[in-house]
Each structure stands twice: as C-alpha cells, then as structure tokens.
Amino acid sequence: MTQSSFRGSLGIRHLVCGSCNGCEHEMNALNNAYYDITRDGWDIVASPRHADVITVTGPMTVAMRAAAEQTVDAVPLPRVVVAIGDCAAGVGPWAGAPEAGEGAGVELEAAIFVHGCPPTPDAIRSGLEEAGTILSRGDVARAVKDQKRER
C-alpha cells in the first residue's frame, strides 16, 4: 500500500487527567454505531506508540501530572494534542481546586480545544478532523502557538 492510502486516518489515544468521566462517555460514543469513527479510517488505539492524536480531558491533577507527561512523550512526532471539554481548557468547575492544575490541554500544549461540559460527540469529531488537517499541513507547532496567543 502506498502512503496515500493512509492519508487522513488517525490513531487516537485518550488520556484522562482528572476528568469527571463525562467526556469519556462522549469519547466512547465515537465508537458506537451512531457515530462510528472507524468508518473514516480513525481508530481509538491502545498505546501512545500507535497514536497520531492524543485527546486529553480533565483539569490535570497533581497525581496524574508525571504519568500524563510521559504518555504524551511516548506518542511519536508529529503529534497533535486535542483538549476535550471545559476542564481540559482550564475553565471547568475545578479550575482553582487545591489538587487540580491549569487544565490538561493547557499543561500539555494542545493545538485544539473542544469546549463543552461535556462536548457532544459531533463536536469532538470536528476537533479530530481539525487535528487531521493540522497533521497533513505539517504545522503543529504553529497551531500550538496560535492557541497560546488566543488564551
């Protein structure tokens, strides 16, 4: 098979950093028969080593920080971090909580923020499509910088 056969297919690894599991219900919905992302050649993968995109949820917690950083580092470059939900953007109900961080997406330098509490499966799908676009353009660093400027 040629390189082009794989164009647009995404390996997606999900990482929970203190989420309430609401975002996980909607991430799981992407695999059900109604949203079925596998028909687009996308797959939720079991190892960060297999991933192009890493979706992160939750405000980040003190306990998860080291494991989360190691997991993102284990994803081969180029990779895109997609922040799912308000907590990951640092604007959820636990912003400022004693054991919570800045937001998983903020701390792990997400290139895309999908807002919502939780976002709908369709909103998450749009965020993942955008991740695919950034990867095919090859300008992940710029996308991360743009996000930082917007904040």
Partner: protein, 467 residues
C-alpha cells in the same frame, strides 16, 4: 433524607457504631473540623453517630473490626488529623505530592508482581492495579486510585450552598443526577421544605434515566469482557439511545443540572409524552437485547463463577447497590427508606445469590426492567403537567445528610452550612468509593486476564471515589 444526629460520649459512641455495623446499614464515615461522623441508614433515612475528635484522645479505628471503614478512616487521618490508635492499614489513602504509597504485595515462593496503570488502554479513568499472582492466578490485587483527586470538597467549601449545586453535579459524570438529588435532599431538609408531588415524580424520572443508561453500558461492557463483540456493539447502541432520552427528559445527555435544590432544572420534562413513547420503544429493544445476551451460553459461561463475592465478604466491606444485592444483600435505598416519589411508586429490590459477574448482570437486567416500569408509571401520573419552577428559601445554619439509590448503590452526601448559607463542610460518599475494595477482593483466585470481565461487572467510577 436524614434523621437526627446523635453526639455521644466515647463508650456510648463505640457501642452504637458497633451495634449499627452488626445489624444496621452502614454508609461510611467522615471527619469535620471538630467531630467524627459515622453514617448509617435507617428506615426513615440516614443518621449520624458523632463524637468530638479534638479532645486529644486517640480514636478507635473501627476498620480493625469492620473493614468497610478502611478508606474512610485513612482519609480522616490524612486530611483531618484524626488520631487513630490502631489503623490496620497505615498507608496514606491517596498519593501525596504526586507520589503513590507502596502497593500492598503478597510475597512467597513462585509469586510474581505486575503493576498496571495509572494510564490504561482504552477510554477509562486512571488507577494503579498491582497484581500479586502465582502464574495466572491472582493471589492479591491492590487497587490504588486517587489519580482523579481534585480536592472538590475543599474547593466547594466557602461557596454559597445553592450555587455549589452545579459543582456537585460535576464531581462525577456517571452518577451526576443521583448525587444532585442527594445534595438537594440535604439542603431541602435544612430549609424544612416539602416539594410538589409533580416535582418528585420528575426527579424519579431523571434518576431512573441515569440508571437506564448506566446499566445498559454495564451490560454492554460485560459482553465485551466476555469477548462477545456484537453484544457490546448492540448494548452501546442502546446506551446511545438512552443518552438521547436523557437529553429529551433532562435537557442533557448525562443529566447534569436536571435536578437542582428546590426542584428540577428548566429543561427537565419539557416533552413528557414524547419521552414516554421513546422509552417504551427503548424498553422493548432492551428486552430483545436481554434475550440475546442472557441466551448466549458462551457469554453466560464466562460470567458464571467470575469474580465471586460472598455474602459475608460483601457485608464486611460494606458493599452497596448491585454489588451487594448480587451477593444476597437486600438493601435498595428506594425500597428500604423510600424518599420522594418512591413513597408512591414502589420499586422492589432486585437480588441474586451467586455473587459472580453473572449475578451482577442479572441484577442490572432486573433493575432496568424496574426502571422502565417506574418511569412509565411516573410519566402516566404526571400526564401533561409541567413540573413547577424550583423554590428554595435562604438556608440557615445546620448539617444534613442526603442518600439516594444511584446506579451503583447508595450515594451519600453530607453537608454542613454556616449562618451565611455557605458550605462549611461537604462530604461525598459515593457507591464507587464503598465498592472499590470489594472489586479488588473479588479477584482473589481468578486469573489475571479475567480482570476486565470482573471489573466491568461492577463498572465503578473513579472520579467520585477520588473526588
């Protein structure tokens, strides 16, 4: 629901807690700045036995006799400086500064150790599981959670108790509506108000919808654990339909803010007749699903004898909900201490005796049937009447306990409110917090590859256990 709290001298306190643990229904324990509170469920609701802890005396660790308090008492020591003379497990309950305490290992000839987590394959929450096994056979499993510990109780303290409801609804996505109801009950009790029957019926619909989407997901996951892909796919499609019904009935796919102090949210039950029709079709699809799932001998064979919890063990660890009722337990808060609309619409406790994954799936199937029936009955009684808008007076100072039967068992919320209507202490005892130790214990003698199956037959949350 809450009864009175009883502040007692030391010997009466110790006798009382022991007697309630022997013959009553323990819910858990927590500390506030000046007292320790042990919570129990009576036929008229929850009540607390209390004694001061700042008197310099070391407190008795009840977990030495009743292991169900192990997590509660470690948490009381770690976070509220309660001194215990003799805690059986002296390790901190949670990681500290990002470091998890050492796992408890079984050692001996031929035993090996395997650590899994906190990051797992698949879309699940973080936890660290340390297996001690002889070959494939698990001798001991130590489940260490707390990676989702955000400090939600301390974060919400000092905020207006009514405004904190939105935060309480977001402690855990999977049992949000049940916790919102327990929290609302506690505040309404402090305010001394009664609700319209229509509002109580609407709340019953909301929390039963929560049970429906959770139990359907649990059955689907249990099919996956048994290796039956089509059973997983069909179950998850049903769960999606249930989540859409939640949006229709509660205005949110996970029912966030569908129940608020003093009533229900503005999006709750806007289209009752459409919801009723939708759920009748869903209930019928669920029956077809049950027939396929429970009629599949290879699925049932995998469920049977997997993760057995004896009646004795379930009681010792204080298991609640389906985890207890699948092992012969009889307590369902809805039937044992009926609250709200459950006083008029009776729900029978679903039970099973074998204590394995099969029994837990049977209990959830039977509860799904009961939920569909209860919702249909509530919607019939409501007719086209819209629930009235929430009414909540200003709160005076005091403490109260709310407890409801969530999808995973008793969801308990204790609140202390100061004289300006702000939370001075909030404590959440989730069904998952109660049940996690029993999941670890259920693995003894099972093989390592059966962990997903055993785990999914409980399908507990981490977020509300870690808080």
């Amino acid at each position: 629901m809450s009864g009175p709290s009883h502040e007692l001298d030391v010997s009466a306190f110790e006798r009382g807690v022991s007697a309630e643990c022997e013959s009553g229904v323990p819910l858990g324990a927590y500390a506030s700045s000046d007292a320790v509170h042990y919570l129990f469920l009576g036929a008229r609701g929850a009540f607390a036995l209390e004694r001061p802890h700042a008197d310099g005396r070391a407190a008795t660790a009840f977990s030495a006799t009743f292991p169900l308090f192990s997590w509660d008492e470690r948490e009381m020591r770690d976070e509220w400086n309660v001194r215990f003379a003799d805690l059986p497990d002296p390790r901190p309950l949670r990681g500290q500064d990002g470091r998890m305490p050492d796992a408890l290992l079984a050692t001996g000839g031929g035993l090996m150790h395997m650590v899994v987590g906190p990051v797992h394959a698949g879309i699940i929450e973080p936890g660290r599981f340390t297996f001690s096994s002889g070959g494939e056979t698990v001798v001991h499993l130590d489940a260490q959670l707390s990676y989702s510990h955000r400090g939600v109780e301390r974060h919400l303290c000092g905020t207006d108790a009514l405004e904190a409801a939105a935060g309480v609804a977001r402690i855990c996505g999977s049992c949000s509506a049940s916790r919102s109801l327990a929290y609302a009950q506690a505040l309404e009790q402090l305010a001394g108000i009664e609700l319209d029957p229509g509002v109580e019926l609407a709340r019953l619909v909301v929390v039963e919808l929560e049970r429906v989407y959770n139990h359907l997901a649990d059955l689907a996951a249990s099919a996956a654990g048994a290796g039956w892909g089509p059973g997983f796919a069909r179950g998850m499609a049903l769960k999606e339909r249930a989540m859409r019904a939640c949006r229709l009935g509660g205005g949110h796919r996970l029912l966030f803010d569908a129940i608020v102090p003093g009533g229900v949210g503005p999006s709750t039950l806007r289209e009752p007749s459409e919801l009723r029709a939708t759920l009748r079709v869903l209930a019928s699809s669920a029956e077809h699903y049950f027939a396929a799932l429970f009629g599949n001998p290879s699925v049932v064979a995998r469920w049977e004898r997997a993760g057995v919890v004896s009646r004795k063990m379930a009681r010792a660890f204080g298991a609640v909900g389906p985890a207890s009722r699948a092992s012969g337990g009889k307590i369902d808060v809805r039937a044992f201490a009926p609250y709200g609309a459950y006083r008029r619409i009776r729900v029978d406790a679903a039970t099973a005796a074998s204590g394995d994954a099969f029994a837990r799936c049977c209990v959830k199937r039977d509860e799904l049937r009961g939920s569909f029936r209860a919702i249909d009955e509530a919607l019939a009684q409501l007719g086209d009447a819209r629930p009235s808008a929430p009414k909540m007076p200003r709160l005076g100072p005091g403490a109260a306990i709310g407890v409801v039967e969530g999808p995973r068992g008793a969801e308990t919320v204790a609140v202390h409110v100061d004289d300006r209507g702000r939370l001075s202490r909030l404590h959440v005892i989730s069904a998952s917090y109660r049940n996690w130790p029993i999941v670890a214990a259920a693995m003894d003698g099972n093989i390592v590859p059966d962990f997903p199956l055993v785990n999914k037959s409980f399908n507990l949350c981490y977020a509300c256990a870690d808080r």
